[in-house]
């Protein structure tokens, strides 16, 4: 069976038509896992048993003529920070090495309810701290296009799994560019809707005010279709948008006349790899040919977003990671402790990797008495300015387009001696993340070294449909 670039819907139709069974489909994807997993390291844990069980169930449903959801029986991958009952949820950190989740994340639950077939839990930067998966305690995930390169992060395992056809789509999560970035570097579509559209319940928290689950896939339709299943108000997450159901896939349209596209000059300046910016400009010219109007816009410099993002996110990280103390779960030190607080310190000191420690400490510092006003409070003020900056921009334009990442996937080892690599690599995705804007990275070809280039499209809050449609124009009328 050829598994190359099949869309979810086409596979679904073939399952219904009984061209092959869900178990056969699963096995063909598992063959790809067998073939490349040792070289790529996409998964923290494989869940073949659960996958087989789910696929078998779908087959019996089809046999008995029952209707199945579009994702029913379609092989998928789940980032390791999503809780799934009975599986290890490590968030790629050894401190949770033995942690088996007793509950499901809402996203996991909604997909399981739709008979999703998960082949495994994907590797990531530990606790999503990074843009390379190099901070994972389970090794780096290599880029399927060039195994000397990183796959991006933090959802690097998810991106590589889809790019290597180990799964049809994958669930990722993004705090700044953790879906868009790896999608860009692995030649995929990576979609994150407005903050609050997808429930965060059961996703190991990084920066609570920024985190949002997203989808990595081979096409816009798949991103829309999976979002239709996972999105919507969740009574377990007080920050979800109070809309029960969305239907982006059905409404997808590549027929937008008079689309106004904003091009922020700060996203295409000398800080961006010339091949990347040149490619994005070419694509913008294609939109123009199709009748879109290109508008040069002036946004706050990304350097402000980097600073604000670093402070806000690390502050939240310092608080969110504090619960992992080895008391109820997590690594327990064998060292003899004098006091219970010492015991907690030993557990955490041994269990956390350097990146988590460094982010926790800088975050705690920013929240400390005497520094709070200078850092956290000020950062929140600038965050408000960034949100206003976008609101002003969207008075002039419908969507904004720019490169997703300033470069293509770098060589492995890039994060060594570069403690801010994650935040700097994500410089073009942080401002939109701080504003919670819906965004998608689309694959716009490769550079002269055959490394994928990503172009991101984002729109105002709640404008998921327009963002997806703009990507759909690219997919169906520009990329063809």
């Amino acid at each position: 069976m050829n598994t190359k670039y099949q869309t979810i819907e086409s596979l679904h139709k073939e399952l219904i038509a009984r061209s092959f069974t869900a178990v056969e489909l699963l096995n063909s994807y598992l063959e790809n896992v067998d073939a490349r997993e040792s070289e790529l390291n996409c998964f923290v844990s494989q869940t073949r048993e659960q996958a087989l069980e789910a696929a078998t169930k779908v087959d019996s449903m089809i046999e008995s003529g029952r209707e199945i959801s579009l994702v029913g029986g379609i092989p998928a991958a789940l980032k390791d920070n999503f809780n799934w009952i009975g599986t290890k949820t490590t968030a790629s950190s050894k401190i949770l090495d033995n942690y088996v989740s007793p509950y499901n994340a809402t996203v996991t639950q909604r997909l399981l309810d739709a008979n999703a077939v998960f082949v495994g839990k994907t590797n990531m930067d530990a606790f999503a701290h990074g843009s390379s998966t190099e901070t994972s305690d389970y090794g780096v995930t290599a880029n399927p296009y060039n195994t000397q390169r990183v796959s991006g992060g933090s959802s690097g395992g998810s991106a590589a799994a889809v790019a290597a056809n180990m799964s049809v789509y994958a669930i990722g999560s993004e705090t700044a560019g953790s879906v868009r970035g790896p999608a860009a570097w692995c030649g995929l579509y990576g979609f994150a809707p407005t903050y609050g559209r997808n429930s965060r319940y059961g996703v190991v928290a990084m920066g609570s005010s920024l985190d949002r689950p997203g989808v990595l896939a081979n096409c816009v339709e798949d991103c829309a279709l999976v979002t239709d299943i996972i999105a919507g108000k969740d009574s377990h997450d007080a920050t979800t948008i109070p809309v029960e159901k969305v239907e982006y896939r059905k409404a997808l349209s590549a027929d937008h006349t008079g689309l106004k596209i904003g091009i922020p000059k700060q996203f295409l300046d000398e800080r961006i790899d010339p091949q990347v910016s040149a490619r994005v400009r070419e694509m913008l010219a294609e939109y123009e040919k199709l009748g879109a109007t290109l508008v040069d816009i002036d946004l706050l410099d990304p350097k402000y977003a980097v600073a604000v993002y670093t402070i806000v996110c690390r502050s939240e990280v310092s608080s969110n990671l504090a619960r992992i103390d080895g008391i109820r779960y997590g690594h327990v030190s064998e060292k003899k402790a004098e006091s219970v607080l010492d015991q907690i310190a030993y557990n955490r000191g041994e269990g956390f990797g350097n990146e988590a420690k460094q982010r926790s400490m800088t975050g705690a510092y920013a929240l400390s008495a005497g520094y709070y006003d200078a850092y956290y409070k000020k950062a929140q003020k600038v965050r408000t300015l960034i949100i206003q900056d976008f609101a002003n921009a969207f008075k002039q334009v419908d969507v904004i387009i720019g490169p997703t990442m300033p470069t293509v996937a770098p060589e492995q080892g890039v994060t060594k001696n570069n403690p801010l690599f994650g935040e700097l690599a994500d410089m073009l995705t942080e401002s939109s993340a701080l504003a919670g804007l819906p965004c998608i990275s689309v694959p716009v070809g490769v550079n002269n070294e055959n490394l994928p280039i990503g172009m991101q499209i984002f729109g105002p809050q709640f404008a998921e449909q327009l963002v997806l449609d703009t990507a759909y124009i690219y997919q169906t009328r520009i990329a063809k």
Partner: protein, 482 residues
């Protein structure tokens, strides 16, 4: 006294809700098996998120309103970060700079019917922690209490003696129970006190330079003991010309003796910041107005009404309004009664006899056999002289024991008052005739005849009006023998 006490209080009250503050676990954990009321949220599992309990927030706002507070229409939750094994998230969700209620006040009664106003600084909402159970070799953790809603009331340092503190504590407990925010059952830990106390020279007005905090005081009687203990301890230090250390002190038992727990210098920096998992809480004036209407009549308002509308005196009004149940029983009784004299009498009989019987038999108001309207009937029989006061006491005991109607009991036991003057006169003649010595003593002691009233009442089996007997005997003696 050379030193004057300066005290501020913080009171934690467990709000009465079905589920916990941020999850759906059953909030009634008392006597439940350890860790049987837990879920990913209150255990602080990775990825779990808090969803605020609207009912608990409303309870906090209702108490704020009952304590005369202003309400922050735009409020939010904050994280208070610190490590402790029974704090599963390593932060407590609380409120930092925008509490639901702020700047209120409560009047407390002092001796001699004086009142004092205690200022309320703030009323905010937070979640309870789990419970550590220490044994010699290990510590066990029970998270049933984790995430139970707490309303925290903070006062200004307005208390200057122990009586004021106790009066406030009782008043607050009364209000909390009245409006149904909590059962305030201290034995179940539903109301806990934290004391901030220092001493200053009598006459000084500025706040002392130090403050001693005593946490986790579980009852009003221990609170009293702690204040006494701390007064002596701090006074001794001040006498030596030293200043007591600014610190947190704890209790080992119920004796009131405190010990140093943590010196302030090493206090935690809680790194408060807005809870990003919960959007700001916004209320409208209309919603607050609706909540205000659910408060009903507060104890102080009820008391004032009893005094003004019924002519009940302050002490009786205080007793009648002590609990909502008592006040409701009383109000059910006097419903439709116009005669203020009867209303006051019903109040007195209720408090003096019924409640006393209830206490003696350790029964509850809700189990009473005597019905409110029956007590009114008894009072009316008394007022219309159908029965004497001594008989009425006998009747009320019977009513309390069996719920019998007063008329029925009086009839069955022949307790109707003797209103026939000739019958009384006959008894008077008989008593006078058989006590010539007493009659003779009247020359020396005009009050000697009082003995005869007792004799006559005995003869009449207490079923006559003593005043009437008095009048007839006096008339008989002063008119000479005829």
């Amino acid at each position: 006294m050379k030193y004057e006490i300066v005290i501020g209080l913080e009171i934690h009250i467990q709000a009465k809700t079905k589920s916990k503050m941020f999850c759906r676990c059953d909030a009634k954990y008392f006597n439940a098996a350890p860790n049987s009321h837990v879920c990913p949220v209150c255990l602080g599992l990775p990825g779990a998120l808090p969803v605020p309990n609207k009912k608990a927030i409303e309870q906090c706002i209702r108490l704020s309103l009952a304590l005369g507070c202003n309400i922050n229409m735009f409020s939010k939750f904050d994280r208070k970060n610190y490590f402790y094994p029974d704090l599963p998230k390593a932060y407590q969700i609380s409120q930092y700079d925008l509490p639901f209620g702020y700047e209120g006040n409560v009047n407390i009664d002092l001796s001699g019917s004086r009142e004092k106003q205690i200022r309320i600084t703030r009323v905010h909402m937070e979640e309870d922690t789990g419970k550590s159970i220490h044994s010699e070799t290990k510590t066990l953790l029970d998270f049933n209490k984790s995430g139970v809603p707490l309303v925290e009331v903070v006062t200004e340092p307005d208390f200057s003696d122990v009586k004021e503190v106790l009066s406030f504590a009782k008043r607050l407990k009364q209000i909390v129970k009245y409006i149904g925010v909590s059962d305030a059952d201290m034995e179940k830990g539903q109301m806990r006190f934290e004391l901030n106390m220092s001493l200053r020279k009598t006459g000084e007005t500025s706040l002392p330079k130090y403050k001693v905090e005593v946490k986790n005081i579980g009852s009003i009687s221990v609170l009293e003991k702690v204040i006494t203990y701390e007064y002596n301890r701090q006074q001794e230090i001040l006498e030596k010309g030293e200043i007591p250390v600014q610190e947190t002190r704890g209790l080992r038992d119920l004796s009131g003796v405190t010990y140093s727990q943590r010196v302030k210098e090493e206090a935690n920096d809680y790194r408060y910041f807005p809870e990003p998992d919960i959007p700001p809480i916004i209320y409208t004036e209309k919603e607050i107005q609706e909540l205000r209407q659910t408060l009903g009549e507060l104890p102080s308002e009820k008391k004032a009404r009893y005094i003004n509308d019924y002519g009940v005196d302050a002490a009786l009004a205080e007793t009648l309004t002590a609990t909502k149940a008592k006040a409701e029983w009383f109000e059910k009784a006097i419903e439709g009664v116009e005669d203020k004299e009867v209303i006051v009498a019903v109040g007195k009989w209720f408090v003096g006899e019924v409640v006393a019987l209830m206490k003696a038999s350790k029964s509850k108001l809700s189990q009473l056999k005597i019905q409110p309207k029956q007590l009114v009937a008894l009072v009316q029989l008394l007022k219309s002289s159908k029965i004497s006061a001594p008989s009425a006491k006998q009747v009320v005991v019977a009513m309390f024991e069996s719920g019998i109607d007063p008329e029925t009991y009086i009839r069955e036991n022949g307790l109707e008052m003797v209103n026939d003057e000739s019958a009384i006169q006959a008894v008077v003649e008989k008593v006078v005739a058989s006590n010539p010595k007493v009659v003779a003593d009247m020359q020396k002691n005009p009050n000697a005849y009082k003995f005869l009233i007792g004799q006559a009442m005995k003869e009449l089996q207490g079923k006559a009006n003593p005043q009437q007997v008095d009048k007839l005997i006096l008339a008989r003696l002063t008119s000479g023998s005829n």
